[in-house]
């Protein structure tokens, strides 16, 4: 049970895919302008990482070693397209907002990385948890960055006026991708000052 807990908690903080493994940076810069988009993106990535890890783990013993990457890719692509199709049907406005980034989950290194590193060598249930937890770790950072970007860039949270209601002038830089990178850097900085073992000598 202790190992299970470790599988779930590790990717969320100590081994966070964005801040420690530095994977999935591209999409975390692109979809963190607003909290709503970030939340849906987080949920989508959680679903994709969880399900594709589960499926790959289920078929791990049958996959021919020489073509394992492409088989993993097919599974990931399947999940991503399913998520995209479902969003188009049931959350059209959000899908429009996220546009190409849903499709680009396929190229998110976290998904493939976790399948290669974990799912191919572990049983389905731990793999599912590992996938979900890594997706959650990614989503957590996304939401933290999106919180600050939306608050200071547009003066709103989830589209509701917060700072703009008290006469705050929006900071245009917050909306642009470079600021996301700077914020991400700050998050990594904070994490490393708490978790001293991550600091390079």
């Amino acid at each position: 049970m202790g190992k299970m807990k470790e599988t779930i908690l590790n990717p969320i903080f100590k081994g966070n895919p964005i801040t420690v493994l530095v994977l999935g940076i591209c999409s975390s810069l692109a979809v963190t302008v607003g909290l709503k988009g970030a939340c849906v993106m987080a949920l989508s990535v959680i679903a994709v990482t969880g399900l594709s890890s589960l499926v790959c783990s289920l078929i791990r013993k049958t996959i021919p070693n020489r073509v394992r990457i492409i088989i993993q890719l097919v599974v990931v692509a399947l999940m991503v397209i399913l998520v995209d199709q479902l969003l188009k049907a049931f959350a059209y406005a959000i899908d429009k907002q996220l546009s190409v980034y849903i499709g680009l989950i396929i190229t998110n290194c976290i998904v493939m990385g976790r399948i290669e590193a974990f799912a191919l060598g572990n049983k389905p249930i731990p793999s599912l948890l590992d996938g979900l937890a890594n997706g959650a770790g990614y989503g957590l950072i996304l939401i933290v960055v999106a919180f600050f970007r939306e608050l200071f860039g547009s003066g709103t949270l989830f589209g509701y006026p917060v700072l703009s209601a008290i006469g705050y002038t929006n900071n245009g830089l917050m909306i642009l991708p470079p600021m996301a990178l700077i914020l991400l850097g700050c998050v990594i900085w904070i994490q490393r000052s708490i978790q001293k073992d991550l600091q390079e000598k």
Binding site: K61, T62, R66, A89, I175
Partner: protein
Amino acid sequence: MNTNSNVYTVIYTTVVCVLVAAVLAFVSQTLKPKQEANEKAETISQILTAAQFGEKSEWAAKGNTAVLDFYKENIAEAIVINKAGEKVATLDTQSSEVYNVAKLKAQNYSIKDGSEVELPVYIFKNGVTVLPIYGAGLWGPVWGYVALQDDLKTIVGAYFDHESETPGLGGKIKDDPAFRAQFAGKSVDFADAKPFAIVKGGAPAGKTNAIDAITGATMTSNGLDQAINNWLNAYGSYLGGSSEHKCCGHCGEGHECCGECADCEKACDEPCEACQAADSTSTAE
């Protein structure tokens, strides 16, 4: 079993691909009606927003059925016109038939290369006429709707959408209500070099067919400006402003000039019979 043999590898990959393709095909077919309904409702809610029947976000909250019902109730006629401004087809308003973005894109090619077009015109019962526009922004296509009053000159409102303009800059064409609000009360003027202008650095005071561009989004503003002008010019005959058809607009081939227009080469004193008939019917309506 030897999972590394060639035969196994080939069979395995084939089976996986076929299975995945089958799942995707099934899901796509199952969800298609719902997705198409969403797209249609999105298009209609944009048209309604342009025509000032409420805000886009309100329509999104009300749901697809409410949008379609409102549209059916308030639309008088949706027609398709050609370059000469003549009605060539009718869109079925009861099934809420509209031109989606893909169709606008196809028409945009025709407008650009000067070939024959089939452009939609949405006419509401309160006299508001909504015309679509489509063009290139900075990163991808921009499109939208411009609503005109029954004089076909005064702008009631507008709504724009885009595929991938920068959020907070070019994205303001969609997200900033203040930008859209500028359109209300302005007018389309075909006597001008450009029927409508989005001016960088601010529209000259007193100019009725120009608005301010978005600061920091020059390329998107220019793209939108071009899209609006290309499409307004394509609608020129319908709106009664194109230089090719300045003769009162009723005269097609085979008709005499009706003489309403000073620029007409074949100026004559009396309207032709066909034009008179057309005039009297339009007045009667």
